[in-house]
């Protein structure tokens, strides 16, 4: 049994878990842990400029790899700064462990300097949390935290570490548990055979089936199974904002994203389907529109690892609790017993209908010779990255353009804050992606509003030499807010206009990076070319886009899924 200090135990436990990167910021309560980090190089520490960004980096790292991201912050403000990042991860079920410093045990509750009840603050937005009471419990708490974070429905876990437990003087016996077993936590992975049979029977019978693929398909690495099921049934596939990439955006059977800004064909297919199988999706309000008008003709099969997600907003006719990959394995093997020889004739009429909706080409937009259309920038980005980049997005119009106009081929390629909609997420997330995949192309699609919410991380990018490409769609406004004001507030642009915009090119240069400004459509292609020719530098592309462009299609409030505006003047 090794003897070591509490601080050394923290670092040793991280090594035993297999943590490669810790995103953090030092401070009083964690100085001992930082001292222990200093003495080794197995766990790489990334010094951020703001703890919120540390959480988003850990999040981006987790989304790009499926591995748990790790955050280290000091007590009080350090810990509370991570809250938005924790909430972001919680809403999107991202595995993350947050190690927060805490004031010494004997001072807890005294309103000590930099004291915050972190376990209390984070309680509604974590999967679980630990306030460690004894130094010898540190390894087990950390082991459990990682186990809980990345099993079942993943999520963030906080480990709060009082300073007296991690002091470098007192030594304790280190014991890392080989196996974690919790009597109160046993996620169901395999689906119930009876439910699998029912689901398959319903799918086989269906003449207008749709696969509705969500983030759970990404989390459970179920892409291969999703493709197999789709091809076996010859069914159209739509992905949620969180599910993009789980089914290739370039596949013939892909009908696009669904929901508020989904394609006409995806929303129409959902509304007219006779059988919908939801795979790790949660019938979010941004998908369903008015639930009482949601998919009136469909038998709904809902596969989800979290029983609480099933029948929460929309009643499932056939609930299947389990991990998407495992459940689909079961379904595919059961499907083998079925003769699907006439499947293509069975769905022929359905495809005829879908192709008719497709022919409307709802993503077409009117290009301009004078101003740059944001959609065009994303299409150009796709071309210049051959569709292979990791694309992290901020939140707003640019996020929807990046979701709609860049077909993602693989899961984990598209990284965005779907549930919480956190502006300021994009840049740090792309940094986390770059740390996880140093040789890959990590791109941020952002806007002039979002980028300024964590722009200080440009400094971190220089320190760690991250060659990220920032594609900023600058419309001198908070585009999505402006769009809603145009549509619902008679064009009164209350505080959605950003005056006194910084010179982003000079700002990027001030941080030691390359800045490129593009103002005219004719310059776009050359500028993109230049941007991606800098293989070892961060490039900030400040692209002046049309301020009046809206994101379409867009569902009409209180309507059915397929009640949509298709442009400023057309609706379904």
């Amino acid at each position: 049994m090794k003897m070591m200090s509490g601080a050394a135990m923290v670092v040793e436990a991280l090594k035993d878990v297999g943590v490669t990167h810790v995103f953090g910021y030092p401070g009083g309560a964690v100085l001992d842990i930082y001292d222990a980090l200093f003495a080794q190089d197995a766990v790489k520490h990334v010094l951020v400029r703001h703890e919120q960004a540390a959480a988003h980096m850990a999040d981006g790292y987790a989304r790009a790899t499926g591995q748990t991201g790790t955050v280290l912050a000091t007590s009080g403000p350090g810990a509370t700064n991570t809250i938005t990042g924790i909430a972001t991860a919680y809403m999107d079920s991202i595995p993350m462990v947050i190690l927060s410093g805490q004031v010494p045990s004997m001072h807890i509750g005294e309103d000590a300097f930099q004291e915050t009840d972190m376990v209390g603050c984070s309680r509604p937005i974590v999967k679980h949390s630990f306030l460690v009471k004894r130094a010898v419990d540190i390894p087990e708490a950390i082991a459990k935290a990682y186990y809980i974070a990345n099993t079942g429905r993943p999520g963030p876990v906080v480990v709060d570490l009082p300073k007296d437990l991690v002091n470098v003087q007192d030594e304790h016996a280190y014991h890392f548990p080989e196996k974690i077993a919790l009597r109160s936590y046993n996620p169901t992975l395999k689906g119930h055979p009876k439910q699998i049979k029912k689901a398959v029977a319903s799918l086989v019978k269906a003449q207008r089936p749709v696969l509705y693929v969500g983030g759970g398909s990404v989390a459970s690495e179920a892409s291969a199974q999703v493709i197999a099921l789709a091809e076996r049934l010859q069914a159209p596939v739509t992905c949620t904002l969180m599910g993009l990439g789980a089914f290739p955006g370039t596949h013939d059977q892909f009908v696009g994203m669904l929901g508020m800004h989904g394609t006409l064909e995806a929303n129409k297919a959902m509304h007219n389907a006779d059988c919908i199988i939801a795979l790790g999706a949660r019938f979010d309000d941004r998908v369903t529109n008015n639930v009482s008008k949601f998919c009136p003709h469909a038998d709904i099969i809902h596969v989800d690892i979290d029983p609480a997600s099933i029948s929460k907003t929309v009643n499932a006719h056939i609930p299947v609790v389990g991990a998407v990959d495992k459940v689909l394995d079961q379904m595919l093997s059961y499907l083998k017993q079925h003769d699907l020889a006439d499947q293509s004739s069975k769905v022929a009429e359905w495809w005829e209908q879908i192709n008719q909706w497709r022919s409307r080409q709802c993503l077409n937009y009117t290009d301009s010779a004078e101003t740059i259309k944001p959609q065009k920038v994303i299409q150009s980005l796709y071309k210049h990255t051959h569709g292979d980049a990791y694309v992290s997005s901020d939140v707003g119009q640019h996020q929807m353009f990046a979701a709609l106009y860049y077909p993602y081929k693989k899961p984990r390629q598209w990284i965005n804050s779907g549930g919480l909609g956190t502006m300021g997420f994009g840049l740090p997330a792309a940094m986390g992606v770059q740390f996880a995949h140093p040789d890959a192309l990590s791109v941020v699609v952002t806007g002039d509003g979002s980028i300024q919410m964590n722009i200080q991380e440009l400094s971190t990018c220089l320190q760690y030499n991250l060659p990220i490409k920032i594609i900023s769609l600058n419309n001198r406004a908070l585009g999505m807010v402006r769009q809603w004001q145009d549509m619902n507030y008679q064009g009164r642009h209350s505080h959605s206009y950003m005056d006194s915009m910084p010179d982003f090119v000079r700002l990027a240069e001030a941080y030691g990076h390359v800045g490129i400004r593009v103002t005219h459509p004719d310059e776009l292609e050359d500028a993109m070319q230049r941007c991606f020719s800098y293989t070892d530098r961060l490039v900030f592309m400040d692209i002046e886009v049309d301020q009046n462009e809206h994101v379409y299609p867009m569902q009409i409030k209180f309507g059915a899924m397929d009640d949509m505006r298709l442009s400023k003047t057309e609706r379904t």
């Binding site: 679980h128 306030l131 109160s184 609480a308 929460k312």
Partner: protein, 165 residues
């Protein structure tokens, strides 16, 4: 409709606040709550009285069950069950006639006088919520109620069914 949700959970710090948190975060009602360690001191048993339609109750049981500290959740109202609540109630008994009337009602309800003072009685009563409500209202008609304290409902399923780890 009134529901009795019974929860078996780790007797760990923070476990109770997590359960209460689920109710406040998600806007569910708590009519009463009763919690104590079980015979196995590493576990606590918690009983929550709540109300809502079937969809809400289903969500409550699922969301509570999802908490890492929670081992089992059951809606006792789904089957036959026993429910009990305890109340201590203090009434002013300044005159002989009030004392007699309070004593009579206490006997009728099979309650017990557990503290006697010059000017008041404290009475203990156990039963269903409805019985306690009836007793309280009956006493209120013959004497001045000084204060009362109730434990909230606890319950067990009848017969073989049990909430065990």
């Amino acid at each position: 409709m009134k529901r009795i949700i019974s929860v078996l959970m780790e007797n760990a710090p923070g476990a109770l606040s997590r359960i209460v948190g689920v109710f406040s975060q998600r806007g569910y009602n708590v009519d009463s709550l009763c919690v104590a360690p079980t015979a196995d001191a590493s576990l606590s048993r918690l009983t929550i009285i709540t109300h809502g339609d079937d969809k809400i109750i289903e969500q409550i049981t699922k969301q509570v069950n999802k908490l890492i500290d929670v081992l089992k959740v059951v809606d006792l109202t789904e089957g036959t069950h026993i429910e009990r609540e305890l109340m201590l109630i203090k009434v002013a008994t300044r005159t002989e006639s009030v004392r007699a009337e309070v004593k009579r009602n206490t006997d009728i309800f099979r309650a017990r006088i557990v503290d006697v003072n010059v000017s008041n009685y404290t009475i203990e009563i156990t039963g269903t919520t409805e019985k306690l409500d009836a007793f309280s209202s009956t006493l209120g008609q013959c004497a001045e109620i000084i204060e009362s304290s109730r434990t909230g409902v606890c319950g067990l399923a009848r017969g073989e069914r049990a909430l065990r780890p």
